[in-house]
């Protein structure tokens, strides 16, 4: 029975067989970190504070995140190890409501912390530990070496928490954004490296089959 349940989970794990899921996640985090850094450090009259540049930047990021993985899957993954079309979720409401609740809770937490002039290094690092746990559940369960990634994320989050707030804040003109820039950069780099290694291993261990083999 357990073997059947494990078979039912294989298609989900297949999505990241080539590391593309992580590469996309890493790209997104680095994109957010870069935008936050630019907004925190650019002069007040700079275009980086304007809505048009923000929309263009986010739009480009979304387009790359949407079409990039699709292109890799179409030209590299599907010809090598096969095509999978996933089932649409039976209910889109539950994930949407859960996401909204989590987003509202995080926003409220940040707003309260800012009003009280709290140090945001610790909450940002706690977010990192949460991320490490969800990464362990999502990826490391199926690929053993990815436990090393979980350890790096968890350790990195603790190191950020241990740093003096002034040092972390100096990344973003001594504002609260410093901790988030640091944690986003950490996620971005770790996910990109881990996804890159998975992608390299995938290319190394798979060959595109002869046309008649499909």
């Amino acid at each position: 029975m357990e073997q059947i349940e494990s078979l039912l989970n294989r298609p989900k794990a297949y999505y990241n067989i080539d590391g593309v899921g992580e590469l996309a996640g890493g790209f997104m985090c680095l994109g957010f970190a870069l935008l936050m850094w630019l907004q925190a450090n650019a002069p007040k009259e700079s275009a980086w504070h304007g809505m048009p540049v923000f929309i263009i930047y986010m739009g480009s990021l979304c387009l790359i995140l949407h079409y990039g993985p699709k292109a890799i899957k179409k030209h590299i993954t599907y010809p090598r190890t096969g095509f999978v079309q996933y089932r649409a979720r039976d209910s889109r409401w539950l994930p949407a409501i859960l996401s909204a609740v989590v987003a509202a809770a995080v926003s409220a937490g940040v707003a309260i912390a800012l009003r009280g002039h709290w140090n945001l290094t610790t909450p940002a690092s706690l977010m990192g530990l949460l991320f490490a746990a969800s990464y362990a559940y999502g990826f490391a369960r199926t690929v053993r070496w990815k436990w090393a990634v979980v350890c790096v994320v968890a350790l990195g989050s603790l190191v950020i928490a241990a740093n003096p707030a002034a040092l972390v804040g100096s990344l973003a003109d001594h504002s609260w954004q410093g901790a988030f820039i640091l944690i986003m950069t950490l996620y971005g780099v770790v996910l990109s490296v881990s996804g890159g290694i998975s992608f390299w291993l995938y290319l190394r261990h798979t060959e595109p089959p002869a046309p008649e083999a499909q």
Binding site: R10, Y78, T81, G82, V84, Q85, Y86
Partner: protein, 98 residues
């Protein structure tokens, strides 16, 4: 006859065969997939995989669609509603028997 033994005797034999069970379980979790994916995941050779898929198609559990990806022929496979129902029932029966 013992009820548990009777449940085992009533298991769907088309699905119960290990090779076909793997295929049905993999297809149950997706909307559809191609032949190459099933071959990669199960490690079966083309002949064995084709034979199992034909058996499942005969039983009305799998729908086969021949198409092209660019100029390359592609065989797409999907579990039919009857196949989904049969697999769900199979899981229920197996759980009950164990």
């Amino acid at each position: 006859m013992n009820r548990q033994i009777q449940t085992i005797a009533e298991l769907d034999r088309v699905i119960h065969e290990p090779g076909r069970l793997m295929l049905v379980a993999l297809l149950f979790a997706v909307e559809r997939s191609d032949f190459l994916y099933l071959q990669h995941e199960t490690g079966m050779n083309k002949g064995t995989l084709s034979s199992h898929l034909s058996r499942l198609e005969e039983a009305g559990y799998v729908e086969v669609e021949k198409t092209y990806r660019g100029k390359v022929p592609q065989t797409l496979l999907r579990l039919t509603p009857a196949g989904r129902k049969a697999f769900e029932q199979y899981r229920r029966q197996l759980r009950g028997a164990l």
